[in-house]
């Protein structure tokens, strides 16, 4: 691994692009995620335009709860970037405070989401009810899966950081976790108005 460690630091003897492997890898992974969510948005737009009738977002969905969720996710994005700043500044206590906040906010997001889903199920709205709810549950469901993935990655990183705080790659990995988390936030930034507000 040490040969790669040399490579990871952007070069050493290797002719490289100067971007650490981890960061380039995460950005490539985010490129494929952009294509995934772009397909889902295209499906939503295509089905909505070609449908004879489509309910407006606020008629079926709980806009205040959605807005609250957006604020929660944006806050978690801020705490994530602060956690990265603390990691760069080698401030262990600060890092664990902010990464803890980020994880807590992610759980809050999922809890609010589950309330929303439960409210819909109680009113008998399931994915099979009509095409609107099929789109709603699929898009928000896949986004929630990505939030869960983010929680797993961030908590794994936090645990790994306890023993490997001085590992040369640690700050880079926090940055990569941050990049992924900000991407999940950006997807929600587009998803919230698309489903709830139009």
């Amino acid at each position: 691994m040490s040969a790669q460690a040399a490579a990871v630091h952007g070069g050493g003897e290797y002719a490289s692009t100067g971007i650490p492997n981890g960061k380039l890898g995460v950005w490539l992974f985010l490129a494929s995620e952009i294509m995934l969510f772009a397909t889902l948005f295209t499906t939503y737009v295509v089905l909505r335009i070609s449908a004879p009738s489509w309910p407006r977002g606020w008629e079926e969905l709980n806009v205040p709860l959605g807005a609250l969720n957006t604020l929660v996710l944006i806050t978690s994005s801020v705490t994530m970037v602060l956690a990265y700043a603390k990691a760069q500044a080698r401030d262990k206590a600060g890092f664990y405070r902010y990464i803890g906040l980020t994880l807590a906010l992610s759980f809050v997001f999922l809890i609010i989401k589950s309330f929303e889903y439960k409210a819909k199920f109680d009113r008998g709205h399931f994915p099979s009810t009509n095409i609107f709810f099929a789109i709603y549950f699929t898009l928000t469901g896949l986004h929630a899966l990505h939030v869960i993935g983010g929680i797993v990655f961030n908590s794994g990183l936090a645990l790994w950081g306890r023993r490997h705080w001085d590992h040369p790659l640690f700050a880079g990995r926090v940055e990569c976790a941050g990049l992924y988390w900000h991407f999940v936030d950006i997807v929600w930034i587009f998803l919230f108005p698309a489903l709830y507000l139009l």
Binding site: I19, V46, P127, F137
Partner: protein, 581 residues
């Protein structure tokens, strides 16, 4: 040096060295043997299917009794294939050969093993990710094969699984799950390939000095990275349609077998075709690009001469990669898509045919002024040129909207894409196996049996696929369980018999190849480390290379194909050979 210390820790257990290995070479070989297994299983399916095409309704000889006992009663009673089993064989043949056979062979096996060596890297950028991509590919593939054991049988609506048929038919749910797993595996592989190629090239190895094979794998990885996610999303939507009762692809008012289908409706069947072909066309370029890379390597080595038009070939590959995202709907000219879009995709399809022709032209011009050695890998590479030419040329009438009206969904299409994939990619990858076998196992494959395998395979492949053009012109549709049930297929029915016998003969000709491989691995005598006297970096280290490949990163001084340099002592100079004094 640090890589040796790293290597010794690695020798610890059998498991970490062979099964859960982080070494790109071991993972490459794992991909090689697994994809070979899947290619043979997909090929075996077509052996059965060809019997039903040649002699519809007659019990299958030899294995007929075995099948009727092994399989559920209603699939092959008395050895005669039933339509649903026929459809399963057809759908799984396509899926297994494309997603489990050729892509893992061309990208997983050759790419994983050869790419890091050719750019002088110690290993892949993310070894754990590399291991994880194999260990997602294997279960995904086995899940796909296991879908035959489901009560309703495997997927039976074609490898393209057009909706609503694929939502009504049994067996599709497991197909979709296996597809999502395989796609995730390919995505991880693509991230690994691009990062390694960009960030871990040996000092001095600028992008202009990378071998053509590395360029082809890089463009392939970009295609995998950006084209697979749409199919993953579309598969998830289809999975929801089948499992959660949504109806993304089911329009309102469907009546199936007399009863109204209870689905909420409002879906668009054409949407699946758009999303599927948005992947599937870059996918077919993922199939052909590594083969072009392998052929370019072998031809440069076999003619002892630098490739003709290195920049043109690499430029064409990049142009193909870029254009492949905007040509997909030439598969859908007659699918109810707006005819106006047909004109747009006609023009983009014709534009993308130019770089493919350019690559082929440059490879043929590379022969001029060379000193051609007719070794076995060179024979395969040379056979690739005319046969891929036929594949490319027969794409013209299919790409043209008007002639596609008649030829769409006929055997002409099957002949076209098999000439590109079978006599194109598979022939090239077979040549690559002969070429890089000394690098993988330190032993050369037997040359005599190599030539027997070559001549037999090329002859039989043409015997199987050329009659399909004749059937296609007569209007024989594809995926017919019993072609003789329709009058317009009767005249060309003998062509089915010719194809079937050639296909079985082709299967027999693969036996010397397999025996040759396994015999040479265990009993072959070792050969020198650079038997082909090749210049690229993978030959600058031991065969098979130790863990960590190079003692220290090789320093690259020149382009990849410095053969017959004027005034040099030998007719080849390795990329990392120090500057001549």
């Amino acid at each position: 040096m640090n890589s040796n210390a790293h290597a010794s820790r690695h020798e610890a257990s059998f498991w970490s060295r062979y099964v859960f290995s982080l070494d790109h070479k071991v993972i490459g070989l794992q991909y090689l043997f697994t994809s070979m297994f899947f290619l043979l299983s997909g090929f075996g399916m077509i052996m059965l299917l060809r019997w039903q095409l040649a002699f519809p309704g007659h019990p299958v000889p030899l294995v007929g009794g075995l099948i009727s006992r092994l399989l559920p009663a209603d699939w092959a009673p008395g050895g005669v294939l039933t339509p649903q089993f026929y459809n399963q064989l057809g759908a799984m043949h396509g899926t297994i050969m494309v997603f489990l056979g050729i892509v893992p062979l061309g990208v997983g096996a050759f790419g994983n093993y050869i790419l890091p060596l050719q750019i002088g890297a110690p290993d892949m950028a993310f070894p754990r990710l590399n291991m994880m991509s194999y260990w997602l590919y294997l279960p995904g593939g086995l899940l796909m094969l296991a879908s035959f054991l489901l009560p309703g049988g495997a997927a039976q609506s074609g490898w393209t699984s057009y909706v609503p048929l694929s939502i009504i038919n049994p067996g599709q749910t497991v197909w979709l799950l296996a597809m999502v797993i395989i796609i995730t595996s390919s995505l991880l592989g693509a991230v690994n390939f691009i990062t390694t190629t960009l960030n871990m090239r040996a000092p001095g190895m600028t992008l202009g000095r990378m071998p053509v094979f590395v360029w082809s794998e890089l463009v392939t990885a970009v295609l995998l990275l950006l084209a697979f996610p749409p199919l993953e999303a579309a598969s998830i939507l289809q999975l929801m349609d089948r499992v959660a009762g949504t109806s993304f692809y089911l329009p309102t008012g469907l009546v199936v077998a007399g009863q109204a289908l209870k689905a909420s409706g409002g879906g668009q069947p054409i949407l699946w075709q758009h999303l599927f072909w948005f992947l599937a066309h870059p996918e077919v370029y993922v199939l052909i690009l590594p083969a072009m890379g392998v052929v370019a390597e072998i031809i440069a080595n076999g003619t002892r001469k630098p490739l003709f038009g290195y920049k043109e070939i690499v430029g064409s590959m990049i142009f193909i990669g870029g254009m492949s995202f905007v040509v997909w709907a030439h598969h859908m000219f007659l699918s109810g898509m707006t005819p106006a879009l047909g004109n747009f995709f006609l023009v983009t399809t014709m534009i993308i045919s130019v770089p493919s022709v350019a690559v082929l032209t440059c490879l043929i011009w590379s022969l001029k002024g060379g000193s051609i050695r007719f070794t076995t890998p060179m024979l395969f590479a040379l056979a690739f040129l005319p046969l891929f030419g036929i594949g490319g040329l027969t794409g013209l009438p299919l790409g043209l909207t008007v002639t596609d009206i008649y030829l769409h969904d006929t055997y002409y299409v099957i002949g076209h894409f098999h000439y590109v994939v079978v006599t194109g990619t598979i022939i090239a990858l077979m040549g690559g196996t002969y070429y890089w076998f000394p690098k993988w196992f330190g032993k050369r494959l037997n040359d005599f049996w190599g030539k027997v395998h070559f001549w037999g395979t090329v002859a039989c492949m043409n015997g199987v696929f050329f009659p399909m053009f004749i059937q296609g012109l007569a209007g024989v549709q594809r995926r017919l369980y019993d072609p003789t049930a329709q009058l317009h297929n009767l005249t060309t029915q003998p062509m089915n018999v010719v194809s079937s016998f050639s296909a079985w003969l082709l299967f027999l000709f693969q036996i010397p190849f397999l025996v040759n491989i396994f015999y040479t691995i265990f009993k072959g005598e070792r050969c020198e480390e650079n038997p082909w006297e090749a210049t690229t970096l993978e030959w600058a280290c031991a065969s098979p290379p130790p863990h960590g490949n190079f003692d220290k990163p090789p320093r690259v001084h020149r382009g990849p194909y410095e053969y017959s340099a004027p005034g040099a002592r030998k007719d080849w100079i390795a990329q990392n050979a120090p500057e001549a004094a």
